[in-house]
């Protein structure tokens, strides 16, 4: 322990000064311009449960991404095999990441193997039986593809959220292909989920008008045709009102990856919103080819397997522009333009957990938390003065400083204050005086043994110190475990509890000791008010 009272006083005053500076932006509201140049301007960060907002936990279906990636690879292998004149009667992905080859001539097995080894080293030969050869994507490659899909999904979501305009969103990758998104201040859950969770895979497919979608049989559909629907939804309830089927050629001619820009426009006739698309140069060329080859046919514009429209191609389109129309509200068109600009998610996502807190509840929580803090504080403070008299007053000073330090560290570390976090602070008020109770009880004991006030103080602090340490470190262990395992608001509880414990060690031991020393330094203590 530092001997000099002056030095200790300087340390305490400096720490209080620093704490006040860090708390000023939170307490004072507006800070003057010059303040920001010298001092911190960060306020205490409020959790979603206090300021309102949306918390979403999503799972990326990486298996789908894996499947799609293997499909693409299989297609290009097929083409390469044709060029190399290895005769194959079938190449299919039989299971995600597992590809089956059927050789026309079983004797060509070795040629196939050496070909694949050279061209697709990430594929592993699993088994072969006569003309049937099974290959599987290596574990490492699977992990790489899954990781890529996850990163891409996060990137796309971040893009969309940024364009939507949310202040301080949080997007984090978690274990098991999960993504956590927190959107403070956002109220419209459905809209947020649509915006973030929409795969937004835009495809152009030709309509096959030879068949009547109402009568076509599964056999007639075969491998190359499919039926997709144009759904009309009630703008209020989002329920599907009507469904109109289309027979489409399965092969998608073009996807949204060539979109350079997407904007909301309004139909000049009825003022209905639609989204106009601009393709990049590569996309323009492709679109030009597609439209040139299929004049007078209908081209369906499909988003996530929903047909939006299927206009007839009147003439070849070389300007690199297209439009997606449907019965949008202006909001929907706005959001659709965002997702098309930001690009498609590499795989569909599933919402695992969703928590939305409205701003009114957040405000009530802050008020309730604050009131219970004040009342709890007053109860403890009054009790301490009644029980320990002047010494109780010293402990109360420590308590006030403790609260000040907890708050300022929250602001300093930009930790998040949640409702359970406030409960943690209130709990700390009750528990932090424990250190002083320990010390004071010990001092009383020493005094009863007939020690002088000065000696009683010294041995009281001395003997209680280790006990306080041991007792608090174990509580800290529990708090740290809670921080590791807790989610969201609960983490906030672990944070304030830990901060409260650590700062109470400083205030209840260091600060109160200083006060007693300062008093006894002036004149020797005859009697201790304890």
């Amino acid at each position: 322990m530092i001997k000099s009272v002056k030095l200790r006083l300087a340390i305490v005053l400096a720490s209080v000064f620093l704490a006040l500076i860090y708390l000023f932006p939170t307490m004072g509201g507006t800070v003057p311009d010059w303040w920001g140049k010298i001092f911190p301007t960060e306020k205490i960060h409020l959790g979603l449960d206090l300021q309102g907002g949306i918390h979403l936990l999503m799972e990326v279906d990486v298996e789908k991404a894996m499947h799609a990636s293997t499909d693409r690879m299989t297609d290009s292998v097929k083409r390469m095999l044709l060029e190399d004149k290895i005769k194959i009667s079938e190449v299919t992905q039989v299971d995600t990441g597992t590809v089956k080859f059927v050789l026309e001539d079983a004797n060509e097995l070795e040629r196939l193997q050496s070909f694949l080894e050279e061209r697709v080293p990430a594929w592993r030969h699993m088994s072969s039986q006569g003309p049937i050869v099974i290959y599987s994507v290596s574990e490492k490659e699977q992990q790489r593809i899954e990781r890529l899909a996850l990163d891409q999904a996060v990137e796309t979501m971040r893009n969309r959220i940024d364009q939507f305009g949310v202040a301080e969103p949080e997007i984090r990758v978690q274990a098991n292909n999960r993504i956590l998104v927190q959107l403070p201040g956002v109220k419209d859950t459905r809209r947020a989920i649509d915006l973030i969770g929409k795969t937004a895979l835009l495809e152009f497919k030709l309509v096959n008008d030879q068949f009547d979608p109402a009568k076509i049989s599964v056999a007639e559909l075969g491998e190359n045709l499919e039926i997709l629907y144009e759904q009309t939804r009630d703008p209020e309830t989002n329920a599907v009102i009507s469904k109109r089927p289309y027979v489409l050629e399965k092969k998608s001619l073009m996807t949204g990856e060539y979109i350079a820009n997407a904007n909301v426009r309004f139909n000049s006739q009825f003022g209905e919103p639609y989204v106009s698309l601009e393709f990049n140069s590569q996309g323009s060329k492709l679109f030009d080819q597609i439209t040139a080859a299929s004049v007078k046919r209908r081209l369906a514009i499909i988003l996530d397997n929903n047909v939006y429209s299927a206009p007839v191609i009147q003439e070849r389109i070389s300007g690199g522009q297209a439009q997606v129309s449907g019965r949008f509200t202006a909001k929907e068109a706005h959001d659709l333009a965002i997702v098309l600009r930001a690009g498609a998610l590499p795989a569909p996502i599933r919402i695992l957990e969703q928590r939305t807190v409205g701003p009114s509840l957040g405000r009530d929580s802050i008020r309730n938390g604050f009131i219970s803090m004040v009342v709890g504080f007053l109860l403890v403070v009054v009790f301490m003065v009644i029980y320990y008299r002047l010494s109780g007053l010293v402990a109360n000073l420590a308590l006030v400083l403790n609260l000040l330090f907890i708050m300022s560290i929250l602001a300093l570390a930009q930790a998040t204050l949640t409702l359970p976090g406030i409960a943690g602070i209130v709990l700390t008020i009750g528990m932090a005086v424990d250190a002083n109770v320990l010390i004071f009880e010990r001092i009383r004991e020493e005094l009863r043994f007939g020690k002088t006030p000065r000696a009683g103080l010294d041995s009281g602090y001395g003997k209680a110190f280790l006990t306080i340490m041991d007792a608090n470190i174990t509580t800290l262990i529990a708090a740290i475990v809670l921080y590791q395992y807790g989610t969201g608001p609960i983490k906030g509880f672990a944070v304030t509890l830990s901060l409260g414990i650590i700062s109470s060690l400083y205030t209840a031991i260091f600060v109160t000791r200083l006060v007693f020393d300062m008093v006894s330094e002036r004149r020797p203590l005859k009697k201790l008010s304890i």
């Binding site: 599933r350 709890g376 301490m384 009880e441 041991d470 007792a471 174990t474 608001p489």
Partner: protein
């Protein structure tokens, strides 16, 4: 002011240890029995999965009317809980159905309430949806957290004291957790994430008390090497009881404040803590140290 005078205090806590162990055993058994009778804890949506919507109406609304409105979309089974006191126009609607499209569920509830209670200005205050998969994960994580906290504590106390002390502390902690959980089972109160946080805080708190007693035992063992261990323990408990009770009191003061004024979410958390602090105080006096004595080799 003084509640206890530790000079004159000399209660034989250790001598009556069998009585207290019986009391605790009965309390734990009651908890376990109610768990079995009820077929497990009443898990909130955090752990069971499901959807919860908290709504507030500007005017008084009967919970039966809310139920009828929900019945029109096939959710008549939902549990509807009305808030007490000045939050009387507020309801908590919980649907356990672990439908795959839980996202749509809360939306359906919102739409139907908006339609049926247009005059009462529905305010959707909170929506929570937890998928069954996440619920299972959270349940496992909660369990793990408590187990890991105990292991960490076991190691720390073994390092600072002796293993038998650590064992006594862990027995006391398990005792506190089991009784608190038992009370939740007995009253069929909802068991949610904040309650797990409360359990960990109880673990930390109860330990705090226990360590203070242990520390005194260790100190007294150094001073009076010749006294019998049992007597040392008894003296130590008597010497520290004043502090143990005082700290519990101040903690209880803030918990009562949280319980009555903290609002919905905090209410149950504070309830768990109140039970835990009472049980924790009891266990650090009557359970933790007697267990250490039971660990004592007979010849000492």
């Amino acid at each position: 002011m003084q509640f206890f005078n530790s000079d004159k205090m000399n209660v034989d806590f250790i001598g009556k240890r069998r009585l207290f162990m019986m009391i605790s055993a009965i309390a734990i058994l009651v908890g376990v029995a109610s768990l079995m009778v009820r077929g497990g804890l009443n898990y909130g949506i955090d752990f069971a999965g499901g959807t919860m919507v908290q709504v507030r109406f500007a005017k008084a609304v009967e919970s039966d009317d809310v139920r009828q409105a929900l019945a029109t979309i096939g959710m008549g089974e939902a549990s509807i809980q009305q808030f007490e006191g000045d939050e009387a126009h507020e309801f908590l609607i919980r649907v356990e159905k672990s439908k795959s499209d839980l996202v749509g569920l809360s939306e359906e509830i919102r739409v139907v309430l908006d339609q049926e209670f247009a005059a009462e200005n529905v305010d959707i205050r909170r929506v929570e949806m937890v998928g069954p998969k996440v619920g299972k994960d959270l349940r496992r994580q909660g369990m793990l957290a408590i187990v890991y906290a105990m292991i960490g504590i076991l190691i720390y106390i073994t390092l600072r004291f002796e293993f038998r002390f650590a064992l006594g502390a862990i027995v006391a902690l398990a005792h506190d957790v089991m009784i608190t959980v038992g009370v939740f089972a007995l009253l069929n109160k909802e068991f949610s994430l904040p309650i797990v946080a409360a359990l960990l805080a109880i673990v930390g708190y109860s330990l705090n008390d226990t360590i203070v007693v242990y520390d005194r035992i260790r100190e007294n063992m150094k001073g009076t090497g010749k006294s019998k261990f049992v007597n040392i323990v008894n003296t130590s408990i008597n010497q520290t009881i004043s502090r143990t009770v005082l700290t519990s009191l101040t903690t209880m003061l803030v918990l009562i404040s949280l319980f009555f004024l903290g609002g919905g979410v905090i209410h149950d958390f504070a309830f768990a803590m109140i039970i835990g602090v009472m049980v924790g105080t009891y266990s650090s006096i009557f359970i933790a140290s007697p267990v250490v004595i039971s660990m004592q080799p007979k010849n000492k």
